[in-house]
């Protein structure tokens, strides 16, 4: 055994030194290479997972936004219709009111004219009666004068 060891140069100093060498390489690679690379891989995996999740969320949000906008447009349509119909109703009512008012005024004007005509006629009658009486008095005066002269 001793001969074998000496032929291959086996020396416990060197054995330990080489084992320590490997240990140092292991620790150094662990610290400088494996840990950071695996950390990057993990981080990237997380980023990708988060990206996929965000995309799904955005898609859901977009779909929601579509529905929301359609709802709002429908509501706005309905409101516009309400406004137009209300305006139309108000217009009609105003029209009816104006018509009624005009009619009433026409009736009043007619009535007024009739009354005034009646009054004029009555006055004319009264005046002509007065004239007739005056003429009759004149005629009587004339007749009496002639008779006594």
């Amino acid at each position: 055994m001793q001969q074998l060891f000496s032929a291959f140069g086996i020396d416990w100093h060197l054995l330990i030194a080489q084992a320590v060498n490997f240990g140092i390489v292991l620790i150094a690679l662990w610290y400088f290479l494996y840990k950071p690379v695996l950390a990057v891989l993990e981080k990237r995996q997380e980023t990708v997972a988060k990206g996929v999740e965000d995309a799904a969320k955005a898609e859901a949000l977009l779909a929601g936004a579509g529905a929301e906008s359609a709802k709002r447009v429908a509501a706005a349509d309905e409101e516009a219709e309400h406004i137009v119909s209300a305006a139309r109703e108000a217009g009609n009512a105003e029209k009816a009111r104006l018509l009624k008012e005009a009619e009433a005024r026409a009736v009043a004007v007619t009535k007024d004219a009739e009354e005034r005509a009646k009054e004029v006629a009555a006055r004319a009658e009264r005046e002509s009666e007065k004239e007739v009486a005056r003429l009759a008095v004149l005629a009587a005066e004339k007749l009496l004068k002639k008779h006594y002269d």
């Binding site: 291959f8 020396d11 080489q18 084992a19 390489v25 290479l33 980023t47």
Partner: protein, 265 residues
């Protein structure tokens, strides 16, 4: 007169002269010592590769961003693939994440050593010491100290994981089974094969890479400049495969260790 072949990995084979032929240096050469602690060329190269790995990891780790560049995307793909495969083998995502640093570090450390081994300067740059050429750099995977140290780390990780997951007595019950003679024999065989992993782990890696270097050098001895290049390409591929084998076997043995005794057979 000594003449040395000094292609990329020339330290393993030296050609004294044509009569003496090729002699192979099995052990890493000692360049000196600090307070009685031997400094070998494979230790120096291990430190060099460590510095390279740590520096690269530091620079890379700082430049990470959520939107990856090409290199980062490649590394992430490899990490995710490795963890997914480990989770499949261990049947647990949490266990896969726990053992990923160990298995990945085994692969990366061995693979980088095995690839850098064929870079110019490794094995060819050295010192002359008493008419003997001592290369400054030698791939640690061609030094049994390194492969055995890694094998021990893998072995202890496997055993400790088994005990931690199953409990000491249940885990020991896999190897010491007194319920029946057949069970006892099977347990004994399991125990021996388990201990044998130390040898198989270390010698598989050492043998493959060492043999590859010897082959490249012998090829260079017979047909210089032409034959070594394709063989080096092949050996670089083998180097990757051996790194993968070491890491995968560690993973599989961890799986075997945490399987309940009655499920294992």
């Amino acid at each position: 007169m000594s003449e040395y072949i000094a292609y990329g990995t020339g330290h393993l084979v030296e050609c004294k002269d044509m009569h003496e032929g090729i002699s192979v240096v099995l052990k890493a050469e000692q360049l000196g010592s600090v307070f009685g602690f031997p400094i070998t060329n494979s230790l120096i190269m291990a430190w060099l590769v460590m510095a390279l790995l740590i520096f690269t990891a530091y620079i890379f780790g700082r430049s990470l961003s959520l939107v990856p560049g090409k290199i980062q995307a490649g590394v992430e793909w490899a990490f995710e693939g490795a963890i997914a495969y480990m989770a499949e083998v261990l049947e647990s995502e949490a266990l896969a994440r726990r053992f990923f640093p160990l298995v990945a570090s085994i692969f990366i450390f061995i693979a980088v050593i095995n690839e850098i081994e064929f870079f110019p300067g490794v094995g060819s740059l050295g010192l002359w010491h008493a008419s003997e050429f001592l290369p400054v750099l030698r791939a640690p995977t061609t030094d049994l100290n390194f492969t055995l140290a890694l094998a021990m780390i893998a072995f202890f990780t496997i055993e400790v994981t088994g005990i931690a997951m199953l409990g000491f007595f249940k885990y020991a019950g896999k190897y010491v089974n007194l319920k029946s003679p057949v069970g006892f024999a099977v347990g004994l065989i399991e125990l021996i094969s388990n201990l044998g992993r130390l040898v198989s782990f270390s010698f598989r890696l050492f043998g493959n890479i060492f043999a590859g270097e010897v082959m490249v050098l012998v090829a260079g001895y017979f047909l210089p400049y032409v034959l070594p290049a394709p063989l080096m390409g092949f050996e670089m591929f083998i180097g990757l495969i051996q790194a993968l084998v070491f890491a995968m076997l560690t993973l599989f043995f961890i799986k075997l260790a945490i399987v309940e005794p009655h499920e294992a057979h």
